[in-house]
Symmetry: C2
Subunit: 262 residues, 2 copies
């Protein structure tokens, strides 16, 4: 399970200001801290970038690449920003992401083909509603894969996100238990060992006590790891969650176990 930092977010005022002023320093510092925390990849969550999308995303992508050769996830709904980032990225780059929403199929998915890169497909309805059970998620996975196949890209370029439900939703914890089954069943359903990713912060979004949120995160990560999740998108400054995830990797990987994991 690769650990993708979700820390580089436009919702962080420091990052927002750095982007506004095209000041690389706070971004360098943030990325360095993510690398030190053990991140395996960096999600660049720029938001929609209504103003100067190309310039802003090029700045973000280049600034991150100055610090690290880790894989990048370009996390924006703005196709112009996305293409600008893709045009200058040297690191392994993943588009985050598309869904069955018409504008995503028309404007985002083709960029994966044009730049021959990986892309995350969300298990969401075309209106962005979240499916309510395993059966709905698996049906949507077939549709997402169908749309992906039309690009002609190799299967290994697809990464599916089953979309974790907040536990405080009416049936959120039941959905999140079903997502474990979705992850186990996707390879058989699609006929290949499709890669998967999940955004951990979704689990505890909304109101709730901070310590219990972190505890719940540390409970769900091992469940996801055991279900075969390939990439977890999380706050890599949650030190205990990172320790848990790395211990999970030592436990569930088909290698000889050693206590000396990093």
């Amino acid at each position: 399970m690769l650990l993708v930092a979700d820390n580089l977010q436009i919702t962080n005022p420091l990052i927002d200001a750095a982007l506004r002023d095209l000041n690389p320093d706070p971004i360098h510092e943030m990325v360095k801290k993510c690398v030190e925390a053990g991140a395996d990849a960096i999600d660049i969550n720029s938001g929609p970038l209504f103003r100067e999308p190309e310039k802003k995303m090029k700045f973000l992508t280049e600034t991150v690449q100055e610090i690290t050769e880790l894989p990048l996830l370009l996390d924006t709904t703005n196709p112009a920003a996305l293409e600008a980032g893709l045009s200058i990225s040297r690191n392994r780059t993943i588009i985050n992401g598309f869904s069955l929403e018409a504008v995503k199929l028309e404007k985002i998915l083709p960029l994966a083909k044009k730049y021959d890169c990986e892309i995350i497909g969300y298990l969401l309805y075309p209106n962005s509603h979240v499916p309510q059970n395993e059966s709905e998620r698996l049906n949507i996975a077939l549709e997402v894969y169908g749309e992906f196949q039309k690009t002609g890209l190799d299967n290994e370029k697809l990464i599916i996100d089953p979309v974790i439900a907040p536990v405080i939703w009416e049936n959120g914890n039941i959905q999140d238990t079903e997502i474990l089954s979705v992850l186990r069943n996707l390879p058989d359903l699609l006929g290949f060992s499709v890669k998967t990713i999940a955004g951990i912060s979704n689990l505890t979004s909304g109101r709730g006590p901070g310590e219990r949120k972190l505890l719940l995160e540390r409970c769900y990560l091992p469940m996801l790891a055991a279900a075969g999740l390939h990439m977890a998108l999380l706050n890599v400054f949650h030190t205990e969650s990172m320790q848990t995830a790395k211990a999970c990797n030592a436990l569930v990987n088909p290698k000889i176990f050693t206590w000396e994991w990093e």
Copy 2:
């Protein structure tokens, strides 16, 4: 997932001395601490009790019952001791346990029928060797269930223990990942929702750094909970493991989620 205290062990010198002197105080104190720590049941691990088995097990069982009405697991290979405990137990009582070993089938399993109580069946070969993969474990489960059925007891009286492998065994972590699949597949294999139990301390037995052992325990508990494990036998004084297990219960149970779990 019920949390069964494995703390009341004859290998603890305080408990050994209390049993030798028939002194209830250290046992009372230990059981009180287990209850305070959140135990849902108490395993009475008396060892084989070569001397005065009936007297010793009656003393242990009665002493524990003076403190708590929680379910008891009578954990001994000595049939005389076991029957003495069963004869005076008032709490819900579980025999821990039998396997395909001839002496267990002849001397232990019939006591479950005689006292109409639950019994743990271990997925071990008749020579007590540990099976090496999922397929072997499932085959043994069929044999264990076959022997159990001969007693005529209701299916709900059977609790299967898949026997966690120490991770430091050559393929221990691979076996422990397969055990998750065993737990998920047992109900379909046996045709009813068979109860299951696992001894968590097995996971990290042998040499290894203490902090990482605890961390690994906190990783494996959620995996077991998500796989549907009914009872975890563990050291209930591992506070963080207990917190993790209780958070898992809040997450995977098919109830409306609340942050207010105990």
